[in-house]
């Protein structure tokens, strides 16, 4: 996300409790409203990762040791972090926001994300309705309504989101950002220890007091590197966050009831799944260079077969051209209960050039990929490399080592 120079960006900070906390509440709804400390069990050595508002009210904070936390809140529930569930909640949170706009940036705080709203005015002319829709959608996705802060910079919007409550967003207009920041203590800014100490010595305890110092005077006193802090205090945030690209997963799966042991039927189903994968690829303008076929066998291990393509393919016919021979050659030992096609190595499909204007079609496969594809097709020994061992006995079989490329 970048802050446009020609127009004022409108940035919304969406803030929820820590995803670990949300995951714990999802797993055990009875823990909502009770003091909950996440990071480990009470007797374990470790530190607190996140706490519920009830535990925070009793004096427990992130970073303190679990023993110390237990002394502050002896009746609190202590639980370790469920990493997988946390990742799922976080993923769901970001994916939900990504549906509103691709101008989405990740924040260092895992419960936070930034959205750029000024490019959504055509679709959402009424900003209040947009904020209500974001709140409603996030609530439906992760089970908690977020707090929203809207401002012209990420720093101000994050502060606004901290002040906001679910359902009551705080909106700071661009011309009010400076006045809004003025009342916050100076520690709100990301100061290092030296700068904080100097500012305290100068009697600068609020951002409003900082704003009374001129920029040249501040630079003379603290150097050019401290100007970023000064600008933040004035409401100008020059940080650039990488736009988030949520991972795309394209797959189609079909349970087979009753289990299938007929090759013709299997091909028919695979063709239908290829159509589904192709439709998903087309809808996102993507092509795939590799498809993984996963065959769940009845009372036999799961069989996985990889198919590689020389260039990103999108159409069902091209996909099935690669899938069919692999299916026919797969060593299936029992009836199949489920078949899954998963598209991997996704690339934009729009650069395909039919070869009318240039000699090639615009794609080039690496030699390693080409060799791997040939070996998948015809066996590992079809392409080999030779190595000469000068120290070995003077017999061809000894001196020359052939190995799959």
């Amino acid at each position: 996300m970048t802050h446009g120079k020609s127009r004022n960006p409108v940035i919304c900070c969406v803030r929820t409790p820590h995803p670990s906390l949300l995951a714990a509440w999802r797993k055990t709804p009875a823990w909502r409203g009770r003091p909950l400390v996440l990071g480990g069990l009470a007797h374990e050595r470790g530190s607190v990762l996140t706490v519920s508002p009830e535990a925070r009210a009793q004096g427990v904070n992130e970073g303190m040791s679990l023993n110390q936390a237990q002394q502050f809140a002896p009746a609190a529930i202590f639980q370790p972090i469920d990493e997988e569930a946390t990742a799922r909640v976080r993923q769901s949170f970001l994916a939900t926001l990504h549906r509103f706009t691709p101008d989405l940036a990740d924040a260092p705080d895992p419960g936070c994300a930034f959205l750029r709203l000024d490019r959504l005015t055509l679709r959402w002319p009424d900003r209040a309705k947009l904020l209500a829709a974001i709140t409603r959608t996030i609530d439906a996705a992760i089970g908690t309504a977020p707090a929203l802060g809207v401002a012209s910079s990420m720093f101000v919007s994050e502060l606004a989101a901290k002040q906001a409550t679910p359902g009551a967003p705080v909106v700071v207009e661009p011309d009010q950002a400076r006045a809004y920041l003025a009342r916050f203590p100076i520690e709100t800014l990301p100061l290092d220890d030296d700068l904080r100490e100097y500012l305290e010595l100068l009697g600068v305890r609020t951002i409003g007091r900082l704003q009374t110092i001129s920029r040249p005077a501040f630079r003379r006193q603290f150097g050019t590197r401290a100007l970023d802090i000064y600008d933040l205090g004035m409401g100008t945030d020059r940080r650039r966050l990488q736009p988030l690209r949520p991972p795309v997963r394209i797959e189609a799966s079909q349970p087979l009831e009753p289990p299938v042991d007929n090759t013709q039927a299997l091909q028919f189903i695979a063709r239908a799944l290829a159509e589904q994968v192709s439709a998903s690829l087309l809808s996102q303008g993507l092509g795939t260079r590799a498809v993984r076929i996963v065959l769940h066998q009845e009372s036999a291990p799961v069989l996985a077969v990889a198919v590689r393509y020389a260039y990103p393919v999108t159409t069902a016919a091209e996909l099935f051209d690669g899938i069919r021979p692999r299916l026919l050659r797969a060593s299936i030992s029992a009836s199949l209960e489920r078949i899954t096609l998963r598209a991997g190595r996704l690339e934009p499909a729009y650069v395909r050039q039919p070869g009318l204007l240039i000699r090639r079609d615009g794609f080039r496969e690496s030699i390693a990929d080409a060799v791997a594809r040939l070996q998948e097709e015809y066996g590992a020994l079809v392409v080999q490399r030779a190595e000469v061992r000068p120290d070995a006995a003077p017999l061809p079989d000894h001196r020359i080592l052939w190995k799959p490329a």
């Binding site: 496969e365 060799v371 490329a405």
Partner: protein, 225 residues
């Protein structure tokens, strides 16, 4: 070519299109063979890029040695491949002539179809030179495969060297841009009677890029290096 002649040709081409006079041998990129005599013999300075060159002749006439020398020269520049139907590639010889074996891919296909598919895939992936060592027996289906193969190597700017022991089929002779015929003319002995090498006569039977008919004598010295 003089400017006035070039000007006249341009005028004629503008007026009469493809019927106008054109150079008999269009410019073609070349890849050095690694042997100066052979580069001179081809008339263009090496193997033509994006085309098929045929090395023909009976067994023991030095054509495979020449192909491997070319492979070694090309391997020093980039990736190369050798499709070895009769399993006669000698990596030890290649290492003696300073080939980069890490740049060499050896394809050992079980059928002609596998071999042709491998050439198409590797040419497309960017292999610079591919040697195709065909089996002595007539390769059924090669006639139908060659046009596709040539299209692909022309697209990929790959050089294809075809080595054939027997009399080449008509299709191969038709599609080849350059045909070199090799013949063992004599053995070379030292004064004390030791075999020192092999004298090979090479002739350009067909050349689409330069005038054909040239002959060159070349000695393959023993031990091979």
């Amino acid at each position: 070519m003089p400017d006035r002649l070039q000007q006249a040709i341009t005028v004629l081409q503008t007026r009469f299109g493809s019927a106008a006079p054109r150079p008999a041998a269009p410019p073609c990129a070349v890849r050095p063979s690694g042997i100066a005599e052979i580069d001179a013999l081809t008339g263009i300075g090496g193997w033509p890029v994006g085309r098929l060159s045929l090395l023909a002749g009976p067994r023991g006439c030095g054509k495979r040695t020449l192909a491997q020398r070319s492979l070694a020269a090309a391997s020093r520049e980039g990736p190369v491949a050798y499709v070895d139907f009769p399993s006669r590639l000698d990596p030890e010889f290649l290492s003696r002539v300073d080939a980069r074996l890490d740049h060499l891919l050896v394809v050992r296909p079980k059928s002609l179809r596998e071999g042709m598919a491998s050439i198409r895939v590797l040419a497309r992936a960017g292999v610079d030179l591919i040697g195709l060592d065909l089996p002595r027996a007539r390769s059924v289906g090669l006639d139908a495969e060659l046009p596709h193969l040539l299209h692909r190597i022309a697209e990929a700017d790959c050089t294809l060297l075809l080595i054939h022991d027997a009399e080449a089929d008509d299709a191969i002779r038709y599609y080849a841009s350059l045909i070199l015929s090799f013949e063992r003319s004599a053995w070379v002995f030292s004064r004390d009677g030791d075999l020192q090498g092999l004298q090979v006569d090479a002739a350009v039977v067909k050349n689409r890029l330069a005038p054909p008919g040239h002959r060159q004598r070349w000695i393959v010295a023993y031990p091979l290096r």
